[in-house]
Symmetry: C2
């Protein structure tokens, strides 16, 4: 069986050798730019690992792995670098390229895989639209927020993993279970992302507090708002706009409210809950436990905890 | 056999009953807006008519007819009405909806039809990119221009017609011939469009001269530039920018140059050449001549001439 490093290398090589025409340059250059190497290749890796539960013939999954990497990749950076008309047209072209890669799956699986891919891609658009809508919304409930990140993040992992499983020859029941696994994993992953943005991660050394300064709706902010009294809610809304405070002071002030309201612990709890649910689903697959070990370990490394 | 009016009605009904979710509203409203009734439904009609050469079971072609109508429909108007971020996201969603409609074709035809659709959609993006590139290009040759409109206009007709023929059970050879038919028809159609923009059409009573005022690269302008001496070329470049002239005077001045250089007649000649080529290809199909009569008449009505 391939190691994760070998799988990642196979994905990089496959993406690098995917040929895009040279002309017109303004249409195709942004696609190459968006797909350039680096990054975790999270969705392709999950697709390959789900595929690997059921078969060792990993090459068969590479075109679909490339397709899930292409869809929705790097749109904001293309917009920033080339402007809206290039982003629109290259975005369309990128989407079509994803479908072209997808069309290389075995013909007998194409209708099912195409259907899964379409649903996934459309739900991701819905999630992004909700995310944009939330920016101008005063009050977002925890339920609304979880629904949004399920669409924006989980669904893409779920589609990738389901397609990998289908290509590997998984039964419909195993595909359904892996879909649930991916949904829960995606929620844990997104909440972890929210937590790390405010509380950091020693392993990454990343600057923290960006979400707080931008006034983003995150699981932390929404949980805090739902637990705060009116005065504290007002402080949560206005602190980042207080011109007398430095950025560091704003971040510290909001985090001290989070701490007082027990938000980090509640978030950790929710992450663990989702993550444990995900792992417990893996145990119910018809596949040998040894075969699910790889995707389990990968999930653990994503969420940064051993269960 | 269905009349054209019945086919058009079937297309309208199919598009109207295609369900899009209600939420999120900012994602799906632009799609409904873009697809709202009216218009010639040129590409779906050509798909249905190509299909009709080979079979009378017209309903089987409706999902694909809807798919070719959805792709690339109304992007500029969505951009103008809702702005770039909605245009990008709704544009993606619209493209995915096109693929969802397309996935309803019979499974055994899906790989071929998906491949045809992908190539078509990507080439349309290329054509639109070249069209944008030409705006800032000082000199465009007739060959470059014909290549651009083949990509921007012909390819979409060719894909629609080929998919219709495939669904109707046409042989590969007939599909190839119909593709050539559509390419030539599309070129005639686009050149006709260029000509009408400057010389009008009594049947439409449309305002004329828009391309001239915008300084667009059209077949007329490019042909004139290629035939003019340096002083006339300069006049062609600068007349529309002359603040002393009214719009009507600018249009009249450019058209008098066109007339002097014999541009309308040369354009008519090119249209006839392309259109005759298209029709002569129809005669070589393996199908009965009576069965090609409908698409022939439709093509004649598009180009506004009987051969």
């Amino acid at each position: 069986m391939q190691t994760n490093e070998q799988l990642l290398l196979a994905i990089e090589n496959y993406l690098a050798q995917t040929e895009f025409p040279a002309e017109p340059e303004r249409l195709y250059a942004p696609i190459g730019y968006s797909l350039a190497g680096g990054g975790k290749r999270l969705r392709p890796m999950l697709l390959m690992l789900a595929h690997g539960i059921f078969t060792d013939r990993f090459q068969a999954a590479l075109p679909a792995a490339a397709a899930v990497e292409v869809v929705r990749r790097g749109k904001p950076s293309v917009y920033a670098k080339w402007g809206p008309s290039v982003a629109i047209l290259s975005g369309d072209a990128m989407m079509i390229c994803a479908y072209r890669l997808l069309s290389e799956v075995p013909a007998e699986l194409l209708p099912r895989i195409l259907g899964t891919f379409n649903t996934m891609a459309l739900e991701v658009c819905e999630g992004q639209q909700y995310d944009m809508d939330f920016e101008s919304k005063r009050k977002v409930s925890v339920v609304e927020y979880m629904h949004m990140i399920e669409l924006k993040t989980s669904v893409l992992l779920a589609g990738s993993i389901t397609i990998g499983a289908m290509l590997g020859g998984a039964s419909e029941e195993d595909c359904r279970k892996l879909r649930r696994f991916a949904i829960e994993l995606g929620l844990a992953f997104q909440l972890q992302d929210d937590l790390l943005d405010s509380y950091g991660d020693d392993r990454l050394g990343k600057a923290i507090g960006g979400d707080i300064l931008e006034g983003k709706q995150t699981y932390l902010m929404i949980t805090a708002m739902s637990r705060a009294d009116e005065a504290t809610r007002e402080a949560l809304r206005t602190t980042r706009l207080d011109a007398r405070l430095s950025d560091a002071e704003k971040i510290a002030a909001v985090k001290s409210i989070y701490d007082r309201l027990d938000v980090p612990r509640l978030t950790e709890q929710q992450i663990s809950l989702r993550f444990e649910r995900a792992l417990s689903i893996l145990d119910t697959l018809s596949a040998d436990k040894a075969r699910t070990q790889r995707i389990r370990e990968y999930a653990e490394s994503l969420i940064g905890r051993k269960n």
